[in-house]
Symmetry: C2
Subunit: 399 residues, 2 copies
C-alpha cells in the first residue's frame, strides 16, 4: 500500500490543528525589514541596548571553569534560591522562603510552568489587555483558551474595571494573568486593586499569575537610584494563596539573551514544580544559575544605574511626544520601559511602523501585536542620547 | 464572604488533577541517600564524570564578552544551525538543510516541542519500553496518554516486535517515541526495522519521534575513535516525512549542565517551531549556542576520546558481570552508555539499590524507573579505573 499522498507532501498539514493555525507573525517581522541597515535605532523589542555587565559574565565563566557543568537541582541551585529568597523578602516586605522559589529558563518558561500546573485543555485563562501576547501562545499550546478583559484607555492612562473581570469569569476560568508594571502599557495595578483581585480570586478558587518582570522599573524613588519595587502580589498574598509570580533576570540585569528567570509559588507546589521543570527542559544551565546568584547579590548598583537611566529616557520620549496633536493616550508611565500611544490617522500599525522605519530609521513596535492597530509602542530602555536623536527624527512624523 | 477553607489550606489541592497525581519519585531519590558521603562512586545518573572541555567553555565566555547577550533567533543562531546541518549531513549520509534544524534548551525540550506539535489532550503516544521515563511526563502535562509496547528481554538483548506496535495503534495514536541507542537498554533499532517502522507510520499517518542523543555512542568503529553514528531515521526518511529527531550536546560533548540540544524536523515546520520555542522558553541562551557551534566544529577529537573511553569502560563492566549466576539479560551493548540487567532475588529495585549503596558505596539506578523492578542500570560513562574499583566492590553482591 502506498502512503496517502498528503503525508508525503508536507508534514505541516499533519500537525495538530492548533499548531497549524498558530499565528506566525510577531514584532520580529517588522524588525526583519530593517536587517542590513546600520543606521537603524531599534526601539521595537522589549530589551535594552546594554550588554550584560562584566561581573555577571565573569561569574558564569568562573562557575564553568570550577566544573559546574553537570545536571543540577530541578528547582534551582540552593545558592540562587537563597539569594532570591533574601531579595524578594527585602523588596516586598514579606518572608518568601526558598521552598517557594523555582528557577526557570526565563520569564516565559515560568509563565508556561504556571499554566501547565493550573489548566487543562478546554479551560480558560483571563488576561487583562493590552498585554504581552506570548501568554496566549502558551495557553493555546496547552489546549486552552484566553478570554480577554480589555482595560480602558483614558486620558489618565489605562484603567482596569474589576467588575468586568468578575463578569468574564466562568466555570472554565482557571486563572487570571496580568503584568504590572505592564507591557506595553506601563500600567501599574494599584495595591488596593491587587487586594480586591486577590479577594475575588480567593472567593472563586481562581489562580492569579502575576508577571512582575518589570517590578524594578518603578519610577517612585529618588533620582540616581532604583526606588522601591512596584506593588507586588507577594506583599499581599498568603504563602498558600493561589498566586504564582513570574520574574526574570532579563530586564533589570540586562540578561535577555541568558534565559534565566524564576517562579514564586506556594511551598506546597515545590515538588510538582521540580517535575514540571524536569519535563520542560530538565533544568536551567548550572553555571548560569551561579551567575544569577551573583547578579542578585552584587547587582544593586547596576539596577540603580539602569532604572535611573530609564527614567531619564522616559522623560526624553514623553517630553518630545507630549502635546503633539496626533498623539493621544500618552501618559508618563510610572513603571516599565515602554510608552504606548494612539496616533491619529493610523489604522494599520504594521504599515505605519514600516513607513516610519523607512522614513526615519527608527524601529517601533506595532500596536497590532497587542490588539490595538492604532497604537505604537516605543521601548525607551536605551541610551538617552540615542533617544534624543530618535525623537528628533520621529517628531515630524507625528506632527 | 470568607474564602473556602480549602483554597486557604494548601494550594496543592487546587492544581489540575494530572499535576496533583504526578509521580514525584525518580532516580534522584536514591541519589539523595548518598549525599554527604565522599566515598560514593555514582553510576546512577545518565551523565559522565567529565566536566565540559575547556575549548567549549572558553567559546561561551568569548561570545558573552563579544556582546552576544541579547535575544536571538528562535530557531537558533545561523552559525549553529549551519554547523549542525554539516554535521548531520556528514554523519547520516543525507542532506539535512538548516531549515530542518531548530535549537532547543536540551534534548528534553526537543521532545516536549515534538509532542506539543503533534498531540492534543486525549491523544496517545506509543513508546517502546523500557525507555527513559521523561517522555511520559511531557505527554501527561499535555493531557495525553502513553501506551507502552514492551520489548522482549531475550538472551541476545532486547527485541522489538513491530506487529505488536501495529496492534497497539489506535485512532488516537499520534506518534511513536523510541530511543536508539536506548536508555536504559543500549538497544539499537536495526536499520531494516527502522525502515519497516517508517513504512508503517507512513501508512497510518503517525509521527515518529526518534531520540538519538546516544547516536555517537556506537561501538562499531576502530579502537581509538568514534565509529559511524548509530543507524538514524535521518538516513531513511524523506525531508517531509512525519519524522522528528531529538538530539543533544549533553552526552557526546559532556554538556549535561548546559541544556543545549536540537530537533531535526520537516522544513515545513520551521516557522511553527520558532513559535513553539518562543512560547516555551523564548529561545536558547545566545552565547551557549556559539559554544555549541564550537563543539560541533572542533569537538570530533574529544568525541573520539570519549567514545573510546566508554567502550573500554563498557568492557570492564561486562567482563566483570558476565557469567555471574544471579545476573541475566546482560548483553554487551553495541550502543549507549548503560548496562541494564536482571538480578535474581531482586524484586524491589529501589531497596536493592539502597542496600548496594550502603554496602559498597556504588550508586546504581533502579529498574523501577523503567518499569522493571528486578533490573538495575549502571551508567559506564566514567573513568575506567574508577569502574574497576566499582566492579570489584559490586561483584560479591551479585555472586
Amino acid at each position: 500500500m502506498d502512503a496517502p499522498s498528503e503525508t508525503r507532501q508536507t508534514a505541516f498539514t499533519q500537525m495538530r490543528e492548533r499548531m497549524r493555525t498558530l499565528p506566525l507573525q510577531n514584532i520580529a517581522d517588522i524588525a526583519k525589514s530593517g536587517f542590513g541597515r546600520d543606521d537603524i535605532i531599534p526601539l521595537w523589542f522589549g530589551e535594552g541596548d546594554l550588554t550584560t555587565p562584566d561581573f555577571i559574565c565573569d561569574s558564569a565563566y568562573a562557575a564553568m571553569k570550577a566544573g559546574h557543568t553537570f545536571y543540577t537541582h530541578q528547582n534551582g541551585i540552593p545558592e540562587l534560591r537563597a539569594a532570591l529568597s533574601d531579595y524578594l523578602s527585602r523588596h516586598h516586605g514579606a518572608e518568601i522562603g526558598t521552598e517557594r522559589i523555582s528557577v526557570t529558563p526565563g520569564g516565559m518558561a515560568a509563565i508556561l510552568a504556571a499554566i501547565q500546573m493550573v489548566m487543562d485543555a478546554g479551560d480558560e485563562v483571563l488576561v487583562f489587555d493590552p498585554v504581552w501576547p506570548n501568554v496566549r501562545g502558551a495557553v493555546r499550546m496547552m489546549g486552552g483558551d484566553v478570554r480577554s478583559v480589555r482595560m480602558d484607555a483614558t486620558e489618565g492612562g489605562f484603567v482596569l474595571d474589576l467588575d468586568r473581570v468578575e463578569a468574564a469569569m466562568t466555570a472554565r476560568t482557571k486563572a487570571v494573568f496580568f503584568a504590572s508594571p505592564g507591557n506595553p502599557t506601563g500600567w501599574i495595578m494599584p495595591p488596593e486593586q491587587q487586594a480586591a483581585l486577590l479577594d475575588l480570586c480567593r472567593r472563586r478558587g481562581i489562580w492569579i499569575i502575576a508577571d512582575e518582570v518589570y517590578t524594578r522599573f518603578h519610577y517612585s524613588g529618588p533620582a540616581g537610584a532604583a526606588g522601591p519595587a512596584a506593588p507586588s502580589m507577594l506583599s499581599l498574598a498568603d504563602a498558600e494563596d493561589l498566586v504564582l509570580v513570574v520574574n526574570s533576570f532579563s530586564k533589570a540585569w540586562c540578561m535577555t539573551g541568558w534565559r534565566l528567570g524564576w517562579l514564586t509559588h506556594p511551598a506546597s507546589l515545590v515538588d510538582t514544580m521540580a517535575m514540571v521543570v524536569q519535563y520542560n527542559t530538565s533544568g536551567v544551565a548550572t553555571f548560569l544559575q551561579h551567575a544569577g546568584a551573583t547578579a542578585i547579590r552584587e547587582g544593586e548598583p547596576f539596577v540603580d544605574f539602569l532604572v535611573d537611566r530609564c527614567r531619564t529616557a522616559r522623560d526624553i520620549v514623553c517630553d518630545s511626544l507630549e502635546n503633539l496633536p496626533r498623539i493621544s493616550g500618552l501618559t508618563r508611565p510610572q513603571g516599565g520601559m515602554y510608552v504606548y500611544f494612539r496616533v491619529e490617522g493610523v489604522s494599520d500599525s504594521r504599515a505605519a511602523c514600516a513607513e516610519i522605519l523607512k522614513r526615519t530609521g527608527v524601529g517601533l513596535a506595532p500596536g497590532f501585536a497587542f490588539g490595538d492597530d492604532d497604537f505604537l509602542r516605543i521601548c525607551y530602555c536605551n541610551d538617552p542620547k540615542r533617544l534624543e536623536t530618535a525623537m528628533e527624527r520621529l517628531r515630524p512624523v507625528f506632527m
